[in-house]
C-alpha cells in the first residue's frame, strides 16, 4: 500500500491536533491553552475537510475556532490571568489514579477498535463527494429527518440566550441590578 495524499494529510493534521491538544492540557498559561485549543480545532476542521465534510469543516472553523474560542479568550482576558503556578491538581495518589483511569479507558478503546477493526474496515469508503451535493443533502436532512432536533435546538438557544442574560443580572453578575 502506498501512502496517499489523504493518508499524509491525516498524519499531519492528526499529529497537529494531538500535539495542540496536549498543549491545551500542559500549558500553564490559560491563554496558551486557549490558543492551542484553537489550533486543535483548526486542524480538526482540516481533517473534516479531508473527509469531504465540507460544511462541517466550515462550521467548525467559523463557530468553533472563531466564535467560541473568541469567547474563551475574551473571558480569559477579562479575568486577566497570568501563568499559573498551580495549574495542576495536587495529590500523587489521585493524580496517579486519574492517569491510570484515563489510560485504562483509552486502552480499552483502542483494544475495542482493534477488535472491531474487521467489521469496521469492511465498510467501504465512499467515492469522493461533491461539496455542494453533500451540503445540500445535509440541509435536506436537517430540515427533513432532523427537523425536530433542529427546532429544538432553536428553542434551546433562545432559552439559553435569555438565561445567560438573566444570569448576568443577578447579584454579583456582570449586569447586576443594583
Amino acid at each position: 500500500m502506498t501512502l496517499t495524499a489523504q493518508d499524509l494529510l491525516f498524519y499531519i493534521l492528526g499529529g497537529l491536533s494531538l500535539a495542540s491538544a496536549l498543549g491545551v492540557l500542559l500549558m500553564t498559561n490559560p491563554i496558551y491553552s486557549a490558543l492551542c485549543l484553537a489550533l486543535t480545532m483548526v486542524s480538526l476542521a482540516g481533517l473534516y475537510a479531508s473527509m469531504q465534510a465540507w460544511f462541517v469543516a466550515g462550521v467548525q472553523l467559523i463557530v468553533y475556532a472563531g466564535a467560541v474560542m473568541v469567547l474563551f479568550v475574551m473571558v480569559l482576558m477579562l479575568f486577566d490571568l497570568k501563568s499559573e503556578v498551580k495549574a495542576f491538581s495536587r495529590g500523587a495518589v489521585a493524580g496517579f489514579m486519574k492517569l491510570v483511569a484515563v489510560g485504562l479507558m483509552t486502552g480499552a478503546f483502542l483494544a475495542a477498535i482493534y477488535n472491531s477493526a474487521d467489521t469496521l474496515l469492511g465498510t467501504s469508503l465512499a467515492a469522493n463527494v461533491d461539496g455542494t451535493a453533500s451540503t445540500k443533502a445535509l440541509a435536506q436532512m436537517l430540515f427533513g429527518k432532523y427537523v425536530f432536533a433542529f427546532e429544538a435546538m432553536g428553542v434551546l438557544l433562545l432559552i439559553i440566550a435569555i438565561g445567560a442574560v438573566a444570569l448576568s443580572r443577578i447579584e454579583g453578575g456582570t449586569h447586576a441590578d443594583e
Binding site: A111, Q140, K145, V155, L156, I159, G163, A164, A166, L167
Partner: protein, 498 residues
C-alpha cells in the same frame, strides 16, 4: 424525501409549544414594561397556566403509540405518563418557588421562564425517539437548571453548586455523546426502534465498540439520575440549590431520564450480554447501599434527602434491570408500568419532603439540620403529621403510596428471577427506615422535656408550599389506598388501549 409533517406531529409537540408560548409572556411583559418585574403572583399564575395547559394538552394528545417528525418523537403511554409526572412536579415547584426566599427575587419571571424551559427539555426527553434528540432534550433541561441554580439569592453555595453541576454535567454529557457516536457508528442509526433491532445481533457478535457506546450512554443517564458511582454531585448540588429547584431536580429530572433509560432498554437483545446485566445489577445494588448508608450519617436535612434520592434511584434501577434483562414477553412494558408508578409515588413524596424543608428555611442559605425539627409536632401538628406520612411512605410502610411503588418494583424483580436484587432492595429499605424515622422521632418524641418554656418553632407562612406538603400527604394516602385506578390507567396507556 417527503418533508411534509402530519397533523399528529404538531399535536405531539402541542404541550411544548404551550409551555414555550406561555413562558415567554412574563419575560415579554417585563421587557415591554421597562424592565419592571411583574408581581410574583402574576408570574406564578402564568407559569401555572402554562403547566396546566401543557398538562391538559398532554393528556389529550399524547399516548397511543404515535410517531411524529419523521420518527424523531414518539407518543406512547410512557411519554404520556412521564409528561404528567414531569409537569405536575414542575407545577408544584413553581408554587414553591413563589414562596421561597431564595427564588422569589427581582428575576422571578426569568426563573419561571427557565423552569418552563427545563420542562420543555424534559418533554423532549420523554417524547424522544432518537438518541440525539434525547441528548438535545437533556441539554436543554440541564442548561436551564444550571442557570436556575446559579440565580439563587444565596451567593456562595448556590454558585458553587451550579458550577459543579455544570462542569460535571458537561463532562458526563461529553461521555454520553461519545456513546451516541459509537452507537451511531456501529448500529448505523440512533433512532430507538432501529437501534433496538440491532442490539441483539451487535451484542451477540460482541461488537466492543457498540458495547462501549451502550455503556457510555447508560453512564450518561446514570449521571443524571445519580447512580453510584456517578452520584457524587447529587448531595452537593441538592444542598446548594434553592430548595424548590432541588425538589424539581429530584423529581422531574429523574422521571424524565428514567423514561429515556427505559426506552434504551426496550430490547430483548440485551440478553446476549451477561456482564452488562450483572454490572447494572451491581450498580443498582451499590446505589441503594451507598445512598441509604450515607443518608444515615447526614445531619443536614437536604443532604439526607439527597442521599435518599440516590437510594431511590437504586430501587428504580431494579426496574431497569428487569426491563432490559428480564426474559419474559412484554417485560419492558411491565417495567414501564412499575417504574412509572414508582416515579409517580417517588415524585409526590419527594415534593412533599422538600416542601417541608422549604417551610422550615427562614433565611437565605440556611442549612436546615435534621435536629432543627425537634418538637415540631407540638407547634405544628398538622404539618408534622403530613411530613410523618411522607416519611413513612418513603420508608415503604403500607398502605401508603411508597409501599405500593416498592411492591411493584420488587414484584417485577421477582417475576424476572432477580431474587438477590429484590432481597438486597428490601433489606436496604429497612436501612432507610432508620433515617426516615429520625425526623419523626425528633418531631414527636423529643423536645418535650427541655422546651416547655422555649419558643415554638416557627414555620414559614407560605400557603403554596404548605399546600404542596399537605397535598402530597393526602395524595400519598389516597393514591396508596386506591392505587388501582392509577395502575389500570398506566397499564392501559402502556400496553395500548386494546
Amino acid at each position: 424525501m417527503n418533508h411534509a409533517l402530519g397533523i399528529s406531529s404538531y399535536l405531539i409537540v402541542a404541550p411544548m409549544l404551550a409551555l414555550l408560548a406561555a413562558s415567554l409572556v412574563p419575560v415579554m411583559l417585563k421587557v415591554f414594561s421597562g424592565n419592571r418585574e411583574p408581581h410574583p403572583f402574576v408570574t406564578t399564575t402564568y407559569g401555572f397556566i402554562a403547566v396546566a395547559t401543557a398538562l391538559g394538552l398532554a393528556i389529550t394528545f399524547l399516548g397511543g403509540s404515535k410517531f411524529g417528525f419523521h420518527n424523531a418523537l414518539v407518543s406512547d403511554g410512557l411519554s404520556l405518563w412521564a409528561s404528567v409526572i414531569v409537569l405536575v412536579s414542575g407545577g408544584f415547584s413553581i408554587f414553591m418557588m413563589h414562596d421561597h426566599v431564595e427564588t422569589q427575587t427581582k428575576l422571578f419571571s426569568e426563573k419561571v421562564f427557565l423552569l418552563l424551559g427545563s420542562l420543555i427539555g424534559m418533554l423532549i426527553v420523554v417524547l424522544s425517539n432518537d438518541l440525539i434528540v434525547t441528548f438535545l432534550g437533556i441539554e436543554t433541561m440541564s442548561l436551564c437548571l444550571y442557570v436556575l441554580i446559579a440565580m439563587s439569592r444565596e451567593t456562595i453555595l448556590s454558585k458553587e453548586a451550579a458550577f459543579k453541576y455544570f462542569i460535571l454535567g458537561s463532562f458526563a454529557s461529553a461521555i454520553f455523546l461519545y456513546g451516541i457516536a459509537l452507537i451511531y457508528g456501529t448500529a448505523g442509526t440512533t433512532q430507538f426502534p432501529g437501534l433496538m433491532e440491532q442490539v441483539g445481533p451487535l451484542l451477540e457478535s460482541r461488537n466492543h465498540l457498540f458495547l462501549i457506546g451502550i455503556v457510555f450512554v447508560v453512564l450518561g443517564f446514570a449521571f443524571k439520575v445519580s447512580v453510584f458511582p456517578f452520584h457524587f454531585w447529587t448531595p452537593d448540588v441538592y444542598q446548594g440549590a434553592p430548595t424548590p429547584v432541588t425538589a424539581f431536580m429530584a423529581t422531574a429530572v429523574k422521571a424524565a431520564t428514567f423514561v429515556a433509560i427505559l426506552r434504551l432498554f426496550q430490547s430483548t437483545g440485551y440478553q446476549h450480554s451477561l456482564p452488562l446485566k450483572e454490572v447494572i445489577s451491581w450498580l443498582a445494588a451499590l446505589t441503594m447501599l451507598v445512598g441509604n448508608a450515607a443518608a444515615i450519617m447526614q445531619a443536614n436535612f437536604k443532604r439526607m434527602l439527597a442521599y435518599s434520592s440516590v437510594a431511590h434511584s437504586g430501587y428504580l434501577m431494579v426496574g431497569v434491570v428487569a426491563a432490559g434483562f428480564g426474559d419474559s414477553q412484554g417485560v419492558a412494558s411491565a417495567a414501564g408500568i412499575v417504574v412509572l408508578f414508582y416515579l409517580l409515588a417517588y415524585s409526590i413524596m419527594t415534593l412533599g419532603s422538600f416542601a417541608f424543608v422549604a417551610l422550615l428555611e427562614k433565611s437565605v442559605g440556611q442549612a436546615l439540620q435534621v435536629d432543627d425539627v425537634r418538637g415540631l409536632a407540638r407547634s405544628h401538628p398538622v404539618l408534622a403529621g403530613c411530613m410523618a406520612i411522607v416519611l413513612f411512605s418513603l420508608a415503604g410502610v403500607p398502605p401508603l403510596l411508597g409501599f405500593f411503588g416498592k411492591f411493584g418494583l420488587f414484584s417485577l424483580a421477582i417475576e424476572q428471577n432477580f431474587y438477590w436484587l429484590a432481597i438486597w432492595g428490601v433489606l436496604n429499605s429497612v436501612i432507610s427506615v432508620y433515617y426516615y424515622l429520625r425526623p419523626i422521632v425528633l418531631m414527636y418524641m423529643q423536645g418535650e422535656d427541655s422546651s416547655a418554656n422555649a419558643p415554638l418553632i416557627e414555620m414559614n407562612k407560605h400557603i403554596m408550599t404548605r399546600f404542596t406538603l399537605f397535598g402530597s400527604a393526602v395524595l400519598i394516602i389516597i393514591m396508596g389506598m386506591f392505587s388501582s385506578p392509577i395502575l389500570a390507567a398506566l397499564k392501559a396507556a402502556i400496553l395500548g388501549r386494546s
